[in-house]
């Protein structure tokens, strides 16, 4: 530490005369003070580097784990659509086609392609290389084009998640067979198929258009995106008008008295309440008391609206306060009433700032998970929700549910889900920054 040991004024003068700033001791002292300065600055840089490195590690982890999820492994096999399995009556009846045994088609094709596999375990493992969704894929093909019955076609089918992981290099071939999810035989079949170019990674469109699934290779985020959309719409349509009106009142009309003081303290405190407490509120009040359906975006939107309301009010107030008093005085001087002044002059000028705050608050609401867990938005749902009263899940909760699944295939899907979430957040924040830059006014 660098104490500047200066005694009384007299002593100081004496020292100055004997060269207090030029002596060896003074030079050493100065040196240590300067190095302390450099050290301190270095701590600051280290802190920032640490924060940036943490962010970079996080993003690279997500990116590195998730980027493979946009491609999915498909296996090409010749399928002969035999009528015995799927259309025994031969009437092309839709219901019958729907009930057909499409797994049998895959099995018979496999036994033709791998005639040497005759044991039950081997056949099961062979069939296990395909996704549980592969028969559905065939069914959809037949339903879309019944003329295919009786023909033989090469079809690219979804590979099972384990084959997918092997193909993407996440399964180490050197690990002993017992601790691997694929057997040695399965790996050799994969290699056989790969050598005849019958295994291929293709763009995984289903990830962007499908709903949730139990199988990692079949999951999609679209259901969660739609759920998030409904939730945010409910949230926005409540919190935006309420937030603006409350901010206008508190900033422009409210007299300074006990009542408004209570409201202000209240808003500040609400902004600091943990989000999970809002979830408890939603559970007890909206679901328990008002009897809203569980898991509905309606309830989620209500909870998030209450949660983001204080933030919206604070942001809107700041933006209204930034409008200079001269604007108000000019309007009042020209004979506008107080309400007209605020609605016609102050609010339009404050609007860009309010919208920026709104977008940031919505981005926050989009990433919120904990309160939505409380109100039951964690249900497993395959269907895409079609309205705010239907059970749905949202993007961050979907990410949470996938992260909770044990299978290796879900790791990349979770990361990819996070990437989708981050893209939405980034877009919203970029929009906010753009609006701020475009409409920013200096008075």
């Amino acid at each position: 530490m660098t104490e500047m040991a200066i005694g009384g004024p007299l002593e100081g003068e004496k020292r100055a005369a004997s060269g207090i700033h030029t002596s060896e001791a003074a030079k050493l002292r100065l040196k240590s003070r300067y190095s302390a300065e450099r050290r301190f600055k270095l701590y600051g840089i280290a802190a920032i580097v640490f924060a940036l490195a943490a962010l970079a590690t996080l993003l690279f982890t997500i990116l590195g784990n998730g980027v493979t999820a946009f491609q999915q492994t498909f296996v090409r096999i010749p399928i002969s659509f035999e009528a015995e399995a799927i259309d025994t009556s031969g009437k092309r009846d839709i219901d019958e086609l729907r009930r057909g045994d499409y797994a049998a088609l895959i099995r018979s094709s496999l036994s033709k392609q791998f005639p040497d596999v005759t044991d039950r375990l081997g056949q099961r493992q062979l069939f296990g290389m395909f996704s549980a969704g592969a028969p559905d894929q065939l069914r959809d093909m037949v339903l879309a084009e019944p003329g295919v019955i009786g023909q033989t076609r090469d079809v690219w089918l979804y590979a099972s998640s384990d084959v997918d992981m092997l193909n993407k290099g996440f399964i180490d071939r050197k690990t002993p067979e017992q601790s691997r999810r694929l057997s040695d035989r399965q790996i050799s079949w994969v290699d056989t198929l790969a050598s005849s170019k019958a295994i291929e990674k293709r763009f995984n469109a289903r990830f962007f258009t499908g709903g949730d699934s139990r199988e990692p290779e079949l999951v999609g985020v679209w259901g969660a995106v739609v759920g998030s959309f409904f939730t945010l719409m409910v949230c926005l349509s409540l919190s935006l008008p309420l937030g603006i009106m409350a901010a206008i009142y508190l900033e422009e009309f409210a007299p300074k008295n006990r009542f408004t003081e209570i409201i202000e303290v209240n808003i500040n405190n609400l902004a600091a309440v943990p989000s999970i407490v809002y979830g408890l509120l939603g559970l007890a009040v909206f679901i328990g008391f008002f009897g809203f359906p569980r898991s509905a975006p309606m309830v989620g939107g209500l909870v998030l609206a209450l949660m983001s309301l204080p933030v919206m009010i604070i942001a809107s107030r700041a933006s209204i306060r930034a409008v200079p008093p001269s604007i108000r005085e000019a309007a009042l001087g020209l004979g506008a009433s107080k309400v007209q002044t605020v609605l016609h002059h102050v609010l339009p000028l404050a609007m860009p700032g309010i919208l920026t705050g709104t977008i940031i608050a919505m981005a926050h609401a989009l990433g919120e998970t904990a309160p939505l867990l409380m109100i039951g938005m964690v249900a497993f749902l395959v269907d895409i929700p079609s309205g705010p009263l239907q059970a749905a899940t949202v993007l961050p909760v979907q990410v949470f549910m996938w992260a909770d699944s044990a299978e290796r295939g879900f790791v990349e899907k979770t990361s990819a889900g996070i990437m989708v979430l981050l893209v939405f957040l980034l877009a919203m924040n970029a929009l906010a920054i753009f609006l701020r830059k475009k409409f920013e006014r200096r008075w």
């Binding site: 300067y34 920032i48 009106m245 009142y249 409201i263 999970i276 407490v277 007890a284 949470f400």
Partner: protein, 458 residues
């Protein structure tokens, strides 16, 4: 589901009412001068048409189910009407399911079929009633407003009064939210405390919320001593503060005192990105990357680390809190007036000495407040600990051990299927109440500190 249609019709009618009011005023203006602008007459009509109708509709939405249920129950045969409450509830929900064409949980009997028909007919009558009443109210409002309209009528003042009332009402929503939080937590927590003493909850050392399903079951009496949860919360929050305070504070100091404008303009938005990342992402990061890294690091130096160590959750939570800490302290450091710094430089102090001896002491109250607010955020953080910390409620000070938090257990108790009214479910609300009170107190203290010790420099 005729409600959306009704709302649409009313919205279209409202627009019509506005224009009708305005054009009426314009016609009046041809004979004598108006007190208010014509559009205010339009708004006046709109208010009289819209507000009563909205009020009616909200009353309807709140009360319809209740009334229909009452009527359906009154019409049930004696034997069904006197069922215990929960069975009656089940029956009603079955009737409702059948009425909407869903699959009921029990087979239909003639009695329930009759009840379903009754239910459907009541619903139909209700639909007619709400359509008729709301349209009637709408027209009546328009007529009334028209009867008040004269050229001298102070339409603007009336409309502005209504608007002010609406503004006041929306600013009280925040108060109602607080009241709602307090009441809902308190109500459920009191029900919990009626079964389990408060003191045992606050000072008990064992947390095992399994309650017996059968009376003769062994080893699941249910013990709700929350001290292990409090200890785990404190441990994880303390670890997160150990990361967040030095990093957050030092980066704030560097950003506000040293960094050139160009660095600032790049680094600040990047730190804001860190603040905008959802906590579920941090949780995934903690569970997937940090926890295994810490476990293998500990193994490398010969220590035993749990795969769900408190250190992993705490460290990642600290990273999450860095931007809060740094932006809050940045604000208070920037608020220290330059005259203080210049005075210090004038006496020959280096920049670091100035910061340490002059700026930081001047900013201390604000930094204390930033610390308290960050700490309360760490206490209430949920997703990171849900994903990265364990459920095992043990009292430990070892950061490599598993610890659990209050928030983890709130979500563990309430996510998924839950039995309402069991002590297990209710205990989540008791935990929530504790969390709410503690964070509220910390926030109040932080605001007090800022208010009391803030130096007024100009």
């Amino acid at each position: 589901m005729t409600l959306p249609v009704l709302l649409l019709v009313l919205a279209v009618l409202s627009v019509g009412a506005f224009y009708w009011g305005r054009s009426t005023a314009v016609r009046m203006a041809q004979t004598s001068a108006l007190h208010s602008l014509p559009s205010y007459f339009g708004f006046y009509v709109l208010v009289w048409c819209g507000l009563p109708t909205i009020l009616l509709l909200s009353l309807w939405l709140a009360g319809e189910d209740w009334v229909v249920r009452l009527l359906v129950v009154a019409d049930l045969p004696e034997s069904l009407r006197n069922l215990p409450t929960d069975q009656l509830n089940l029956l009603i929900s079955d009737i409702r399911n059948m009425a909407y064409g869903n699959v009921p949980s029990t087979a239909a009997t003639p009695e329930t079929r009759a009840a379903v028909e009754h239910y459907v007919s009541l619903k139909a009558v209700g639909d007619w009633l709400v359509w008729g009443l709301s349209l009637l109210l709408f027209v009546a409002g328009a007529m009334f407003a028209r009867s008040r309209m004269t050229p001298q009528f102070r339409a603007r003042n009336r409309v502005e009064t209504v608007l002010t009332v609406v503004l006041v009402a929306s600013s009280t929503v925040a108060v109602f939210t607080t009241v709602g939080i307090v009441l809902s937590l308190l109500f459920e927590a009191l029900r919990f405390f009626a079964r389990y003493p408060v003191l045992d909850f606050l000072f008990g050392l064992t947390w095992s919320p399994q309650t017996a399903i059968r009376a003769d079951q062994v080893g699941s009496s249910g013990s709700f001593g929350a001290v292990p949860l409090f200890a785990g919360t404190l441990l994880i929050s303390a670890i997160s503060m150990l990361v967040a305070i030095p990093v957050g504070l030092m980066s704030a100091i560097y950003m506000s005192e040293y960094a050139p404008r160009s660095v600032r303009s790049v680094v600040k938005p990047i730190l804001e990105i860190l603040a905008g990342i959802p906590t579920v992402v941090f949780g995934f990061f903690a569970a997937l990357t940090v926890a295994p890294a810490i476990a293998s690091l500990a193994a490398a130096v010969g220590l035993q680390a749990s795969p769900q160590s408190a250190l992993a959750a705490g460290a990642v939570m600290g990273i999450m809190i860095i931007p809060y800490m740094s932006s809050l302290s940045d604000d208070v450091i920037s608020a220290v007036p330059n005259t203080l710094r210049e005075g210090s430089y004038g006496l020959g102090a280096t920049q670091a000495e100035t910061i340490k001896r002059v700026v930081l002491p001047a900013a201390l109250p604000g930094i204390m407040a930033a610390f308290i607010i960050s700490f309360s955020r760490a206490l209430g953080e949920t997703m990171i600990v849900v994903m990265a910390a364990g459920l095992a409620a043990n009292i430990t000070a070892n950061p490599l051990d598993t610890a659990t938090t209050v928030t983890v257990h709130i979500s563990a108790l309430l996510v998924g299927d839950q039995e309402f009214d069991s002590a297990k479910t209710l205990s989540a609300f008791a935990l929530g109440l504790t969390l709410f009170l503690v964070t509220l107190a910390m926030n109040v203290v932080a605001q007090r500190i800022v208010k009391k010790y803030r130096e007024q420099y100009d």
